[in-house]
Amino acid sequence: MRSTRLPILVVLLAIAAAIAWLTLTHRAARNGETIAIYYTKLDGKALGDVRVSLRPPQADESATEHLHNTVLYAAVQAVAGPPNEIEAIRFPPGTRVLGVAVDGSTATVDLSKDVESQAGGSFGENGEFKGLVYTLTGIPGIDAVQVTVDGARLETLPGGHLELDQPLHRSDW
């Protein structure tokens, strides 16, 4: 018996050490499900993605609330964009998600007024919202995204080009 216990103990210790290492170094431990956060590349067309973990629902979190939380999580990630080392069309600095709401299969994302500080041209607007819409419609149960700014629905951004009055779909691109 002794001769079998020791190797098992060694293996268990090794596993424990490995888990501790992976956790403490912020690396490698990819737990469970992930979702894709899309961004538009600098050609103005192609999408790239980074994957982030998708939290499982907590014990007291209903399916409805979990969908809401997942949409909030994905929207914040999409507005943040990928790490700076990745070239991407990005929302104007300071743009933040003020809140989200889910109604049926439409997710409403309320953005701060910083989103209105566009550089001009269709390039930024097109790329920013394309990434946001692709990200949120990648969540099962969501197929459209309504954008509001500071709580208000608007037809376009000031001096803008993109129509934002109606929910946006992947088919708009």
Binding site: L24, R27, V76, G121, E155, T156, W173
Partner: protein
């Protein structure tokens, strides 16, 4: 020729760092304010609580908000929400959930020292975990506290005989070379401390070891990185990727570098047929034996077969464009024989096989693009199908298993689809993206088939983009007038949405009123075509080129004819792009919006400010309209 061997020099003291962080959290007694110095500035944290021996910080704390502002971070939370999200300057989103000890950093799930909670209308977060996400550490200096920026990571990447260190800091990194000799070099990073201290063996790419140490005071720390070199190693100057990210690069001496790539000049034809033979009987019990690799051309691309005796699980990863490498780690496996290096001609440029640790064999492929990949068990191991076409959204990682006797549940081929169903291929292809939201407005017949409406973008109270006193509204009007004159000379009727620098609807109107007024000019006059002229811009000077946007099915052909003419306009051709633009969406007739060039790019700027160039693009637009209307005549109307 690229090989991959990425590992991380987050040395073993990370565990100690956490223990130190937890221990250092203790002195703050419950709910006592905490005064800490950050970059020479005192910050008072008043919404603090001691929880499980660690500090909890309230999200409404004025000091905390100052810290977030100063570090370029954003916090997303409001009462009633379960998730508290912190976007760092990197940016990385750190997600906490009230009542849950788990927190997520990008793709990584971690355990916090306590679960965040809500008290009154305020969420309280574990402070040390928040600080770690901000690349800061709370340090004691006598009786005072200091928020010390950290050298947060030093990642090591080995690539074709080169070693590159990627340093990331919680403050701007300005490495100073404090010592250099043929056998070592020491960099000092002033202003950052670290918990990554220790010695790491490298023994590759001209680098023997890396040693990280700290010195100085809590308030003025210095972290030193000493790299011990092989004789003759090449040292590149430090390079800042941005303020907080620096690379330090090293190469082996010229002769050993060549030795590292013995197959660099190998005949591809030979390499493709080459099969590494190696004895396998002595493979250790239970471990799979990797015996060789073959690259063979296939009908569409190439097939790489990894010969393996035994069962094994594997994990694969691919890097992002433009880094077209892909690797598979075969677990519990032994490489029989020498390391393998093969080169070939596309789509697989090279294959390298190495025993990267006692249990893992890594097969690294360098491809000539972001190719589609399929992995499937084969009779003698694992087969990788590499397609000849680039895929827009390749999957980045996955796992699988193979072997003579597969575990139950793993009987099927572990195929790797490059993208989820319905998301593959070219996103720009409207079919792949899900088709059209609106069907073609097939009933539209222009009341005036000789009328073209030209829309010079912006104007009046809206100047559009601006650079060095040049306004988009002026350029669009100038190009529009040139186009009008050319079209009129060819017998077209032309209506402009504006002829001077004015708002089309009214001054200071809402953007959509303005855009609808432009659409109305075309719709109410029964125009044949609508042509909106704009100038692009971006927050940095990188992007340049001409883009033709469209929105409706009936716009496509017009956009294609327009783009074909504009392709040779002297800047980059960015093609046609479908988008949800107001004016192209709401016009009844075929419509395009041309973003002529980028005001924010210096070479495009030079073009935009040249009258000759503006004449040239107006000419190309006129030609595009002419060719489109010849190819698509209005029924019962003579072609123009």
């Amino acid at each position: 020729m690229n090989s991959i061997n990425r590992f991380i020099a987050r040395t073993g003291s990370a565990a100690a760092a956490v223990l130190v962080a937890l221990a250092s959290a203790a002195p703050a007694s419950a709910d006592a304010p905490l005064r800490a110095t950050y970059q020479g500035q005192a910050i008072l944290f008043t919404h603090v609580a001691s929880t499980s021996g660690a500090i909890a910080i309230g999200v409404n704390d004025p000091g905390f908000q100052t810290l977030l502002h100063d570090t370029g971070a954003l916090l997303t939370w409001k009462p009633g929400e379960r998730y508290v999200l912190l976007t760092t300057a990197v940016p990385v989103v750190v997600t906490f959930a009230l009542g849950d000890g788990r927190y997520d950093v990008g793709q990584i799930a971690l355990q916090a020292s306590f679960a965040p909670y809500q008290r009154g209308d305020e969420a309280f977060l574990p402070f040390n975990e928040v600080l770690r996400a901000l690349d800061l550490a709370l340090r004691q200096d006598g009786r005072a506290w200091v928020l010390q920026p950290q050298l947060a990571s030093l990642d090591v990447r080995q690539d074709s005989g080169h070693i590159t260190l990627f340093a990331h800091g919680g403050a701007p990194l300005r490495p100073r070379i404090v010592q250099q000799s043929p056998s070592s070099i020491t960099y000092a990073f002033d202003g950052v401390g670290t918990t990554l201290t220790g010695l790491r063996q490298i023994n590759m790419g001209g680098v023997r070891t890396i040693e990280i140490a700290t010195s100085g005071t809590v308030r003025n720390p210095t972290t030193t990185v000493t790299v011990a070199l092989v004789a003759g190693a090449v040292v590149a100057p430090p390079r800042n990727l941005d303020d907080r990210d620096v690379t330090l690069a090293f190469g082996a001496a010229a002769n050993s570098n060549a030795a590292a790539n013995p197959n660099a000049a190998a005949n591809p034809a030979v390499a493709q047929e080459q099969q590494q033979q190696a004895p396998s009987p002595e493979s250790s019990a239970g471990a799979a034996a990797v015996t060789g690799v073959t690259i063979a051309p296939a009908a569409d691309g190439a097939t790489v077969t990894i010969a393996v005796n035994g069962n094994a699980a594997y994990e694969w990863h691919r890097l992002r464009a433009p880094d077209n490498r892909f690797w598979i780690d075969i677990q519990n496996a032994q490489l029989q024989g020498a390391p393998i290096d093969q080169s070939a001609v596309g789509p697989v440029l090279s294959v390298r096989v190495r025993q990267i640790d006692p249990q893992t064999v890594r097969v690294a492929l360098s491809l000539d693009g972001q190719k589609s990949l399929t992995l499937a068990p084969a009779a003698n191991g694992l087969q990788i199908g590499v397609g000849s076409q680039d895929v827009a959204d390749a999957a980045r990682s996955g796992t699988g298993s193979f072997g003579g006797v597969l575990a139950s549940g793993a009987q099927t081929a572990a195929a790797v689809t490059p993208a989820p169903p319905g998301e593959s291929g070219d996103y720009w292809n409207s079919t792949a993206a899900g088709g059209w939201k609106f069907g073609p407005r097939g009933t539209y017949v222009p009341a005036n088939p000789r009328l073209i409406v030209i829309d010079p973008g912006h104007g009046g109270s809206d100047p559009g983009s601006m650079r060095n006193g040049v306004r988009e509204a002026d350029i669009t009007l100038d190009v529009a007038k040139r186009l009008r004159d050319l079209l009129v000379a060819r017998g077209w009727q032309v209506k402009m949405t504006r002829e001077t620098d004015v708002d089309v609807y009214q001054p200071n109107d809402e953007a959509h009123e303005e855009l609808q007024a432009r659409v109305d000019v075309a719709n109410k006059n029964g125009a044949r075509l609508f042509m909106s002229i704009h100038v692009n811009a971006f927050i940095n000077s990188g992007p340049y080129g001409t883009t033709t946007y469209y929105s409706k099915p009936e716009d496509v052909a017009f956009a294609q004819y327009m783009e074909k003419q504009l392709a040779a306009d002297g800047t980059k051709d960015d093609g046609i792009i479908k988008s949800h633009l107001y004016v192209t969406l709401h016009t009844l007739m075929p419509a395009v919006l041309v973003e002529t060039a980028f005001l924010s790019n210096p070479s495009d700027f030079a073009l935009l400010t040249s009258p000759a160039w503006r004449q040239k693009i107006a000419q190309e637009m006129a030609d595009g309209i002419g060719q489109y209307t010849q190819a698509y005549p209005v029924p019962n109307q003579p072609p123009q």
